[in-house]
């Protein structure tokens, strides 16, 4: 059986990649995708923990399912907002959406 550590490392790497993406990308859609990556890392964590540590093996899985659901809703919402921004400004670059500052 694959040791738990492997899952955790995978999850951590994915999470870090997601964070990197959020920090480095300028396109709103790409940022959104990076956030999805982070959420997926969390899901892996939950499922792995559930499998290895939780006697019921169910809590983590349920959590993962919910995360996926919520993430889907989130993406839907976020994309709608991105589109509206795009309509207003003809860009999806977050750096250009910086009229409010200081």
């Amino acid at each position: 059986m694959v040791p738990l550590e492997n899952y955790l490392v995978l999850s951590a790497v994915m999470f870090s990649l997601g964070v990197y993406g959020v920090l480095a990308r300028r396109n709103a859609v790409l940022i959104l995708m990076s956030v999805e990556l982070m959420l997926n890392a969390v899901s892996i964590n939950f499922v792995a923990f559930a499998a290895y540590l939780d006697p019921d093996k169910v809590l983590g899985a349920i959590f993962a399912v919910f995360i996926i659901t919520v993430a889907a809703a989130e993406v839907g919402l976020a994309l709608a907002i991105v589109i509206r921004l795009f309509r207003n400004r003809a860009t999806s670059n977050v750096d250009e959406a910086a009229s409010m500052k200081w």
């Binding site: 480095a24 300028r26 977050v94 750096d95 910086a98 500052k101 200081w102």
Partner: protein
């Protein structure tokens, strides 16, 4: 009614002051009659007190009457009361008599002046405060009345407030004496600290018991004496008194010659037991007195303003009194105080009469030959001058003579020499004053023509005072005293309890010396100024220009003070103001506000408006917290 009720003396004028101050404007003639009536009743009360006092069984013991005033817990019990003893009686006599004369005189002199009622009102307040001062049984009450007379002096010097010079003089008088008063208050509190009481007799008692250390006592006494010097215009606080002549002349007579300025002498006399216990205190008093007598003698030589001459002479005579005190003889000082009060009041009122008659001309250079025009004023002034010069048998002779005697006994001949020189100068400038004003021919025809003798309301007091100036010296004799109710004469009447009475002895040698001093000054002046000529004096001045300038400019005291105030005090004030504005306020207070605002201005640029930066902040925050949690704390 007895001496216990002596406080009524002060209460009546005080009440009249309130009436005049509040309603005087509405009263016919400004209520001057009320003023005179108040003083007159004080005078009569004084006579009653005197009689009662002299009749008291137990031989002239002090009369005490005090009440609980305030207290704080157990620690601070304040009683206020009156203390009537011979010194007080003498002061009563001087104050009420001169005040009465001055009040009557003022009716004529101040006629038609603006704020006529106000003048009389403040005069009443002054009399009340002065009487309170001399009968106070404790130093706190002394200080209170001490300050009140100062305010009256301020108000009256500044009576002609439209004149800038009068205002400045009033300010100067108040502040100068106030500086002395700082000392006085410090001294009073030091004495309180050492003895736990303000009551003068108790303090003396404690001190004589040796309850106070020598150095401490000397310091306390010196501080008290500082106040006396300020009030009595002793060098170096003398500068205010000549300027105070800006006030109406009756005021100069009453306050700045006869009564208020002698408060310092009075207080020193009252506290003399302390001075005697404190090593060196008497010497200090003597030195101050001698210095003052000498310096002001010089200063008076070159003055041309009648009142200024008299003012310097007043300061000089106060010096004489202090010398007497320094010799340890309050009786002698008080005696001179009394005679001086009469003849100096006379001189001032006489000069007031002249000034009034010549329509406010008080420069000797424009006067002269007035005797014929003003015979009564001239005659009385002549008597006053001779008394001041110290010629027998006038009052000044007897008292001044006594000072020489006691001074010689105590400090020896060197002190006598200095004082003798001062006495010669006194005779000199007095004669000069008289000659230049009343003798010779008129120098300003215009002034002379319009001059006429003053009305009876003014000459009456002059004559009365002239009589006193002539005869009041005789109270020193046993016989006279006995006839009046105090056998042994005034010097035996006033004595310090533990000194024992000091009976006056006529000493021909000293009397002769004294006459010689007076005559020298007189003749010298006559030689120099007789016949309407100032040729000799001018030559003298030209021969010694440096000395003349020095004297003429009063040893540059005023200039020194002016520089000290401008450069020192005001400069310091400017520095403090600058410091307050720019360092404390702009840098400290506003500065901290600006730093706060500025840091906000810097920090706000963290908010770049760009999303990745925000995300970075979140990430950095988490990482930082985690690292701290793991590394620092773990």
């Amino acid at each position: 009614m007895g001496a216990e009720e002596a406080w009524l003396l002060a209460a009546i004028p005080a009440g009249v002051f309130l009436v005049l101050a509040l309603f005087g404007r509405a009263l016919p003639r400004g209520g001057d009659y009320l003023g005179v009536a108040a003083i007159l009743s004080s005078f009569l009360l004084f006579l009653i007190v005197l009689v009662d006092f002299l009749d008291t069984p137990g031989k002239l013991g002090p009369v005490v009457n005090d009440i609980e005033w305030s207290s704080i817990g157990e620690s601070f019990d304040l009683r206020m009361g009156i203390y009537v003893d011979p010194i007080t009686i003498v002061m009563f006599a001087v104050v009420t008599t001169v005040a009465l004369m001055v009040n009557i005189f003022s009716i004529g002199y101040m006629k038609g002046e603006p704020r006529y009622y106000w003048f009389f009102a403040v005069l009443q307040l002054f009399v009340a405060s002065m009487l309170l001062l001399v009968m106070a049984d404790n130093l706190l009450l002394v200080y209170i009345s001490w300050e009140l007379v100062g305010v009256c002096s301020f108000l009256l010097i500044g009576f002609y407030w439209e004149k800038r010079s009068a205002t400045e003089a009033a300010k100067k008088a108040f502040i100068t004496t106030r500086i002395g008063d700082v000392g006085l208050l410090i001294g009073i509190i030091m004495l309180w600290k050492a003895t736990g009481t303000f009551n003068i007799q108790e303090i003396i008692h404690h001190v004589e018991e040796g309850a106070v250390g020598q150095n401490y006592l000397f310091a306390a006494v010196a501080f008290v004496f500082l106040g006396c010097m300020g009030k009595s215009a002793q060098v170096p606080f003398h500068v205010w008194l000549p300027d105070a002549m800006e006030g109406p002349t009756p005021v100069s007579a009453l306050i700045h010659a006869a009564t208020m300025v002698v408060a310092g002498v009075y207080l020193t006399a009252r506290l003399l037991p302390l001075f005697e216990v404190a090593d060196g205190a008497l010497l200090m008093v003597t030195i101050v007195g001698l210095t003052t007598a000498l310096l002001t003698g010089f200063m008076a030589l070159a003055q041309t303003d009648i009142k200024k001459v008299l003012a310097y002479s007043t300061v000089g005579q106060l010096g004489f009194m202090f010398v007497a005190l320094g010799a340890g003889h309050p009786a002698v000082a008080m005696f001179h105080l009394m005679t001086h009060a009469f003849f100096k009041a006379l001189l001032f009122l006489g000069s007031g009469s002249v000034i009034h008659a010549t329509h406010h001309n008080q420069e000797m250079d424009k006067l002269g030959g007035l005797w014929k025009k003003m015979p009564i004023t001239g005659t009385t002034f002549f008597i006053g001058s001779l008394a001041l010069a110290g010629l027998p048998p006038l009052a000044g002779f007897w008292s001044k003579d006594e000072i020489f005697v006691v001074l010689n006994d105590k400090w020896g001949v060197w002190a006598v020499a200095i004082l003798a020189f001062a006495a010669v100068m006194t005779a000199f400038y007095t004669t000069r004053l008289f000659i230049r004003t009343f003798m010779g021919t008129p120098r300003d025809k215009d002034v002379h023509e319009h001059t006429q003798e003053s009305a009876l309301v003014m000459t009456g007091p002059l004559m009365f005072l002239a009589v006193l100036a002539a005869v009041s010296g005789f109270v020193v004799f046993h016989g006279v005293g006995k006839a009046l109710g105090f056998p042994g004469g005034i010097t035996e009447f006033i004595f310090l309890p533990h000194h024992g009475p000091h009976r006056y002895h006529f000493d021909l040698a000293w009397a002769t010396a004294s006459v010689v001093m007076g005559a020298t000054g007189l003749l010298l002046a006559g030689w120099m100024y007789w016949g309407n000529s100032i040729k000799r004096s001018t030559q003298l001045a030209e021969a010694q220009p440096g000395l003349y300038d020095l004297i003429r400019n009063k040893f540059y005291f005023d200039e020194l003070y002016q520089a000290g105030i401008d450069r020192g005090m005001l400069g310091f004030s400017y520095v403090v103001s600058w410091f307050d504005r720019y360092v404390v306020n702009d840098t400290g207070v506003d500065g901290s506000a600006q730093v706060t605002g500025f840091s906000g201005g810097v920090l706000k640029y963290l908010q770049t408006g760009r999303l990745p930066n925000y995300a970075m902040a979140v990430a950095v925050g988490v990482v930082a917290l985690a690292v701290i949690g793991l590394v620092v704390r773990g």
